[in-house]
Amino acid sequence: MADSSIQDEREFREMMAEVDPSISSRLLVALDFAKGAHAGQTRKSGEPFILHPIAVGYGLWKKYEDPELAAAGFLHDTIEDCEDVSRGKIYEVFGDTVGFLVDAATKNLYDFHLRPEVVFEDKIERLLWAGMQDMRVLLLKIADREHNISTLAHLKNNRQVRMAFETQAIFQPLRNILRIDTKMTLPESTKNLYDFLEKNNLKSPKDLKEFLYQQCYQNFNDDVYKLVYEDSDKIIWEIEDMTIYENLCNLSDFQSYIDVISMWTNGRQFKVLLSFKKGYVIDEPNISLKISSFKN
């Protein structure tokens, strides 16, 4: 991972030589700012922390070639993880757009620097509200999460399961709505999101959040979400569609992440009870996971 991320930086700098200097200079300032801010920090794996923002920023640049989004990718953890970096500083140095993207991607904040009247107690609703203002917030957060999930193995198992749950509940359905795997320009992606929100009559971040919950889980609301978030590794889940479960069993790595407790049928209905041992995000439509019980 370290080697590939060092290579990320090298490749990114080479790529910048081909880009309009007015853009590349801003991006390289963002990269260097992040390097300075995260200097000396390490990840759970022991690698330099900066490798993560570089991977996120570079990945976003390759995919969307949007300077503000890529700059926010490099900077997205600075407010959260660097004592010397204030929210105001990011706005001041990198402008309101980049400032807003980084502000929105920062956890444990309730309002926005330039919109102090907009307050959310719920961090997911805050993120989704920001994403409804500028959908690049969602692209940034998904890129951040994808990189974190790809390096999940360094976390303790219960932390892995929690992060995978949050991803399954929020970010995986968002990925599908935003059609991340389809090549689209930013304006196309934005139109796609607004069309989707309109079609499904999702007017508020709460509407969108509840819609996301229902994509992978049955009978979910905020209380259930919080309950599962607190004790993700103790939940016994139920899947009632045998075809979906069969598809999961056919995935080469699925088994190493789960414990199957039992299967049941009366000849017409089916259910399998399972729990997650480690973090795993299911990339199957309509999995409809349901809480069965808690492990002792």
Partner: protein, 326 residues
């Protein structure tokens, strides 16, 4: 010629056992083969021989013969051998016994089953076979079995205890293995046939599950499985048969349990006792286990047996053990 059936167990004891079973909602499989259950089982087995306890291709009697002959020496042949078939049912293995007998083995067949009705069917099946035979109605998990069986076969040079077909897989492994360790003595052999898991993956478990779930679609078969329920006066329509799995990791098994799920409140009178069953209560009726070969051998070894050999054919495995020297 029909022979007398010896009995170590009384009908009263079986009924008491059944009463206890319904109270704890776990009826041992032996009750499925009693009285009319034996004929029902026999008929459904004849109509679906490959779906009873075998999965895929069942082992044929000559598979048993070839496996066993590898461990029979000329010296063994001269010895007086008691071939004790535990859970003998209808003795579909009669051609195996006959062949060994015809080849000159000094062999005496002893069929043991807890169902008198099943032994009567076995008697009928064996009447034209002229090898020495004895049929015993007994529950080999009962305390008195070791004493009683030793009284019958104590004078034999060698004793072979065999679980062929699906018999072994219905017993709780920890129960049966310690029981066997007490029955078998140093010079005896234990021959066990089981259903084997192809691997330990959930994919394979699901494949087996789907196979066993098909049984729920066969209404006659599934009603036969529920014979003890109906015998006690519980209408089949008051519940439904379900299949569920549990894992038994110590022995590397996945247990496929057929469970009668009550849908309606039902009150029955059985042996002068009133029993009330409520909706959502479950009555366990039948267990079929699929084992991991290596873990099964390890399990026997840990319980005092010495592994002699095994052979696998598709999903069926046969294993030969002896008791470790004490």
């Amino acid at each position: 010629m029909l022979i007398p059936i010896h009995s170590f167990i009384s009908d009263l004891r079986l009924e008491q056992d059944l009463l206890r079973g319904i109270k704890v909602r776990r009826i041992e499989q032996k009750h499925r083969y009693t009285e009319k259950g034996a004929q029902k089982f026999y008929e459904s087995y004849i109509s679906n021989p490959n779906t009873e306890s075998y999965f895929g291709s069942s082992l044929a009697w000559n598979d048993y013969l070839n496996f066993f002959k590898r461990y029979i020496t000329y010296a063994d042949k001269l010895q007086k051998l008691a071939f004790v078939l535990l859970g003998c049912g209808k003795v579909l293995e009669r051609d195996l016994i006959k062949t060994l007998h015809d080849e000159g083995h000094n062999l005496h067949f002893i069929g043991v089953d807890s169902s008198h009705a099943m032994l009567e069917l076995a008697n009928e099946n064996l009447k034209d076979y002229d090898f020495d035979k004895m049929l015993i109605c007994a529950d080999f998990t009962e305390d008195n079995f070791t004493t009683e069986i030793n009284r019958v076969i104590g004078s034999f040079d060698k004793r072979l205890f065999a679980f062929l077909g699906g018999t072994f897989s219905v017993f709780i492994p920890t129960d049966i293995v310690d029981t066997l360790a007490n029955i078998v003595t140093d010079n005896d052999m234990l021959w066990v046939e089981v259903l084997l898991r192809e691997d330990m993956t959930e994919r394979n478990n699901l494949m087996l599950f789907k196979h066993f779930a098909k049984r729920l679609e066969r209404s006659t078969r599934i009603r036969n499985d529920a014979y003890p329920i109906e015998k006690m006066g519980i209408p089949f329509e008051n519940g439904e048969m379900t299949l569920e799995t549990i894992k038994e990791p110590a022995v590397g098994a996945i247990n496929f349990k057929y469970v009668f799920l009550m849908k309606k409140k039902t009150r029955i009178h059985f042996r002068n006792e009133m029993i009330t069953l409520l909706p959502d209560e479950k009555i366990e009726l039948l267990n079929i286990r699929a084992y991991d070969s290596e873990k099964l051998v390890n399990f026997f070894e840990e319980h005092g047996f010495k592994f002699i050999s095994s052979e696998r054919k598709k999903n069926r495995g046969q294993f030969l053990f002896q008791l470790k020297e004490k």
